[in-house]
């Protein structure tokens, strides 16, 4: 059933997004090895998915059959999910102080050793194909849960992604929802300068998908689009292209085509955190 986004949920989601951004910066301060810019472009998406009750999940039973499966294929950019998972009780909040530290299960790129993550991440281009298998399995089990996948736009260069795009379209996997974090920047520059991905929507539509695009930093647009996609009918897999800004919230990163590999100094982080707070 579609819900419209009203107060107080709207304010809560904006507040959560602000908080996730702050926590992500703090994590980057203690673990400069983490990929900050690509973690910041997905903040609003995570806020809506988890706090907007788009995803069904149970922090106490991460293997519950009743959960929606969320495969985070762009593992590099998932540091911003750590505070969310800790906040929701997937693991203790104190763990956030240990990211990338000896003995911690929270690394620079999360694997399913972290409660709340479904798969092995870090090698790009696997998530969508795996999600196709999960989607088929759920259909075979006659279950109504959905499979969500989060991918980066740079990840679309992996050939295996298109094997899966073709497969999902041909099999009409209408329980599969792909979110592309289209932050326009890969590791060595803008995607349009590497191999232009546009027209992206059209590419998916040609392969039998239902496609739409939104501003991935607008809580309202993200919420409305994900609501709609979760409850849509139509025997087609769905892709939501979230137009985002890599490094969102950090002016120096937002304008840097090499933001993927840029770190912020502790002083810069402190002043950004103060500003956001």
């Amino acid at each position: 059933m579609n819900r419209s986004l009203q107060e107080p949920l709207l304010s809560l989601l904006w507040e959560k997004a602000r908080w996730i951004r702050i926590e992500t910066l703090k994590i980057h301060k203690i673990a400069p090895e983490t990929r900050l810019a690509s973690s910041l472009s997905v903040v609003e998406l995570f806020a809506v998915l988890y706090y907007g009750k788009i995803l069904s999940f149970d922090p106490r039973n991460t293997a519950s059959e009743e959960r929606d499966r969320f495969i985070i294929s762009k593992g590099h950019g998932a540091i911003s999910l750590y505070p969310v998972l800790a906040d929701l009780g997937f693991f203790d909040r104190s763990e956030l102080a240990n990211v990338c530290k000896e003995g911690s299960f929270l690394g620079g790129i999360p694997d399913c050793i972290v409660p709340g993550f479904e798969t092995i991440n870090g090698s790009l281009g696997h998530g969508l194909g795996v999600a196709c298998g999960v989607a088929l399995a759920l259909k075979q089990k006659k279950r109504s849960e959905k499979v969500f996948v989060l991918m980066g736009d740079g990840e679309l260069y992996e050939g295996a992604v298109w094997e899966a795009v073709m497969f999902a379209g041909a099999h009409g996997l209408d329980n599969l929802i792909l979110i592309v974090d289209s932050n326009k920047v890969s590791m060595l520059g803008y995607c349009r300068d590497i191999l232009d991905l546009e027209p992206l929507e059209k590419k998916f539509i040609t392969f039998g998908w239902q496609a739409s695009s939104i501003d991935g930093h607008s809580i309202g647009q993200v919420f409305t689009a994900l609501q709609k996609l979760k409850h849509a009918r139509g025997r087609k897999p769905r892709v939501l292209i979230a137009n985002t800004v890599k490094g969102k919230g950090v002016p120096r990163l937002e304008t840097d085509p090499l933001s993927h590999i840029k770190n912020l100094s502790p002083a810069e982080i402190d002043s950004l955190v103060a500003e956001l707070s």
């Binding site: 798969t119 092995i120 090698s123 194909g129 795996v130 196709c132 298998g133 075979q140 094997e163």
Partner: protein, 320 residues
């Protein structure tokens, strides 16, 4: 009585097909690759037979997704492509994952060694033992006949971890249908007891080993034959006990030698036990096979046919 010739894949799929009637937790996924026995399976189980097309990477990924949801999956393709085209998918989604959680995906690669003789080096598969053995959390099975292949179905259902099944492409005579027993937990079978010298072989080459041993017997050289079908995990201690009866060991495989294959496994077991045993490794040297001819002719060219192997062993036995 001539032992019945059959392909490993037909025997294996026939058995999987039977199980699928009573076990609804089995999926069979193919990268557009068939077999006579697969026709019945795919028409009877339209929902649980998936053809991903000629797309081995997606074959592994889709199989992984099904496996994550608890299904037992058989993923089926030509051996060099399922292993090498999709190696990183196998490593990431199966080998790595299986260290943290349970997943039962069985990769069936058809066309071990030079099974696809005249199709040339892209279709030859001389690296798979080395590559698949390198993956932690993987089981590697290399049967020498269809009886053993069929026997593996039970094991594949019970042992819930990723496995690579290295099947020959050609119909081969049975070895284990004549009263011989194979224990999958032991991982090998001494098909022929010898004196002083023993051939350790796997897959198709076990047939060559048996023939060579027969030929050597005519020359009064009594060579043993051990068929090593479980390449990972191996039972080091039991294998060493079997090898320790001999002073000379010859490894024989249809794959590259001196880079981590069957020969390296045996060498490791001998070295670990500080054994005073001579080892000779037979297989393919460090180059691909562009020569044209059928398998027997190619083997002859590379001195891996029955007569060449018997000749090499005879010479080796002079070192007694």
């Amino acid at each position: 009585m001539m032992p019945e010739r059959k392909t490993m894949r037909d025997a294996f799929i026939e058995e999987v097909y039977k199980r699928m009637h009573t076990d609804d937790q089995i999926f069979f996924v193919s990268a557009d690759f068939g077999a006579p026995t697969l026709d019945a399976l795919r028409s009877s189980f339209k929902e649980r037979f998936i053809n991903v097309g000629i797309a081995e990477q997606n074959l592994i990924n889709v199989a992984t997704g099904l496996g994550l949801e608890g299904f037992t999956v058989y993923a089926y393709a030509i051996a060099p492509f399922i292993t090498m085209r999709a190696y990183e998918q196998i490593r990431t989604n199966l080998a790595l994952y299986a260290q943290l959680k349970q997943i039962n995906v069985n990769l069936i690669g058809v066309g071990a060694g030079l099974s696809y003789d005249v199709s040339g080096p892209t279709h030859h598969c001389l690296e798979d033992i080395i590559l698949m053995r390198a993956l932690p959390n993987f089981t590697v099975f290399s049967p020498s006949d269809w009886v053993l292949a069929q026997q593996f179905v039970d094991y594949s259902l019970a042992e819930r971890r990723p496995k690579y099944l290295r099947f020959d492409g050609k119909p081969l005579p049975g070895i284990y249908n004549t009263g011989r027993r194979a224990d999958l937990q032991t991982g090998f079978a001494e098909l022929r007891a010898g004196e002083k010298l023993c051939i350790v072989s796997t897959g198709y080459m076990t047939h060559t080993a048996l023939q060579a041993a027969q030929r050597l017997a005519d020359d009064h050289i009594n060579a043993g034959v051990i068929d090593l079908f479980m390449l990972k995990p191996i039972n080091d201690d039991l294998l060493f006990k079997a090898l320790a009866k001999y002073s000379h060991i010859v490894t024989l495989e249809e794959g590259f030698i001196e880079k981590g294959g069957l020969d390296s496994m045996v060498a490791h077991v001998l070295e670990k036990n500080r054994a005073d045993i001579f080892l000779k490794r037979l297989g393919f040297q460090d180059s691909y096979v562009f020569d044209m001819g059928n398998r027997q002719q190619l083997h002859k060219l590379h001195r891996l046919d029955e007569a060449s192997v018997a000749g090499i062993i005879k010479e080796f036995s002079h070192e007694y």
